[in-house]
Amino acid sequence: MTTIEFEDRNPAGATGPQRSARHSRRTRAARDFDRHRMWVVARTDLRQLVQSKDYWIPMVALGSLFFFVIPTILLLTITRIGDINVVQQASQALKILPAQAQAQIQGSSPQGRTAFALAVYLFAPVAVVVPLTISTAVGAATLVGERERGTGEFLAHSPASVREIYLGKLFASFVPGYMTTLVGFGMYSLVVNLVVGPDVGGWFFPTSQWWVLMLWIIPPFLLLTLSLVLRLSARVRSTAAAQQASGLITLPMIGIAYSQSTGTLLGGSPNTGWILGAIAWVVAAISLHTGVRSVTRARLLGVAQ
């Protein structure tokens, strides 16, 4: 006689109803999420941004200012300046940098060393301010904007789940800021290498810390900020209120992100950036997960209590 042994699918001792509830939640979450629909929501938002010159022209201007104009002027001033006293004063100021950071500064001339230090260590805020500013501006208006235009009614009646809407909106807010930052980062790298490179023995930028900063640390901070901004956008009654309130979130986030990114660039251990980024990703993931609850159909309709 053959004995059939059933696999124990309940090793933890979960009872039937508990399993059922978990299964139900998983099933519901699965049916509530269609990646294509999320992408459709995001793509439509992005298309509207592209159609709106009054939005993307300031965005490009901001990116150009921070990643191209200001660095170019400053670095050219340092490397081509005639007054050696000014350079020496700037060079003295760099002594406040940690010893490990000072040891990594390249260049034989005072101009070269000063320009290297500025390019590598002191422009970190640029990488933080630009994406957070741009994405926050988009994110703050995204949900309340739907409500104000009346299109929230369309979304509320549509088959799109609130999770798809939330993540679609989040993605559409993330992309403009981060893409601007990446493009600006490329431009900045070019400027730095062309202006400072000859004084430090060739192209040197981006450094490994900058790669970590751009690809590992900035994204989670941006997502974390957006997850908070979208909660606001879902709750407030007007875009103006959302913009005002998002400032309360964005400014501290810029401060935190700046201090952490500066720490990554200046910190001694090469693992500092990786660890910091990992923590930021975990916090961002939790915030994103819980942030979905802020979007409800009643809020899209503008009738939430």
Binding site: D32, V40, T44, G150, R297, L301
Partner: protein, 404 residues
Amino acid sequence: MESLGSPAAPPRPTTEGSGSSPTALVPPPYRGPLPNPPTSAVPSVPTGVTPVPAFGSDVAVVPPTATAPVTAPTDVGASAPVVQLSGVGHRFGANDALRDLSFEVPDGAITVLLGPNGAGKTTAIRAITGALAPMWGTVRTFGLDPDDDGHLVRPRCGVVSAKPALYDRLSGRDNLAYAAELYGVGADAADRIERCATRFGIEDALDQLVGGYSTGMKTRLALARSVLHDPQLLLYDEPTSGLDPESSYAVLDMIRDMTSYGHTVVMCTHLLAEAEGLADHIVMIESGTDLISGSPTELTRRYWPNPIVTLDAEDPRLLDRAAAFPGVSGYRRDPAGARLEVDDLRRVPDMVASLIADGVRVTRVEPHVPTLEDLYFTIRRESGVGERSIAAPGGAARPDGGLR
């Protein structure tokens, strides 16, 4: 009453008017050509004229506080109702948006939710798709609970809200494409977009930004979007708001056309003229509660079971003798003439002949078909819901009641 020499009078129909009178005598149903521009679509009592007092009727209207709605049997949609609301309630702060609202939407028909602004029509639409979960009561759409099974309900619904809810920064085509993708139209989306745009007459404007559309074009685009995914149930919330009479007429014509494509339509309106020409089934809503529901024919039969004739004469006072004629169950005279409720329209020629023989110079003999307007104001008056304004044809409110 004085005999008019008519044949044996037919038996008086019951108050339900369920068919004891010959079919030929039943007033024509409401369904018919769409009204011309609303100002002239429905006959109305001239302003300043004393309303015709009520004929006798023993049909009770349930006041808003009653729990059991008056639901007349409907003569449309024999299959299971597409939508069922039972005792549905919702509250916004201290205000009751819906209060024990109950009604059914028959399959394949146009159901009109009729009520003044703030009656709860929009909230009812939102509850039907699950966009808003009611605080109490039961909603079933396609037999499903839209709050739990919204992912199954919403793809089968097409909604046009009072504000068209279009993306102004996108073209008409992009708006439709967005809806097509959200509703999972599939590979033939482009073809469907073209066909829908053509059907609603916006094909030439499809590539323009919607921000440049007129209000009428936006409504057409919203209508096209609502049918793009071929839904079973169409929910239109005051789709003609903001439109001129001609555009309204065109939009209503399109909506009426929907049922020929197999759609079930629910339309909210506070315009009696719209409902008059369109409704297969009417649900009158007031303060979040259904006052009455049923087909227009059934409802008017319930309120006016007998045919009504309007008479006028050079000296209207002489018409008073008609009150005593056989078969006349009700009589009222006002400056517009005399109205008689008779058990059989076939008595009318004899009545007129008798009046003429008595020297009365009759100037008008006209069967009166009770309108939705008559019905609406009668129900509101009898249910004691007050005199909140609703737009009667011509824009005038009719708090005075209609025929009764």
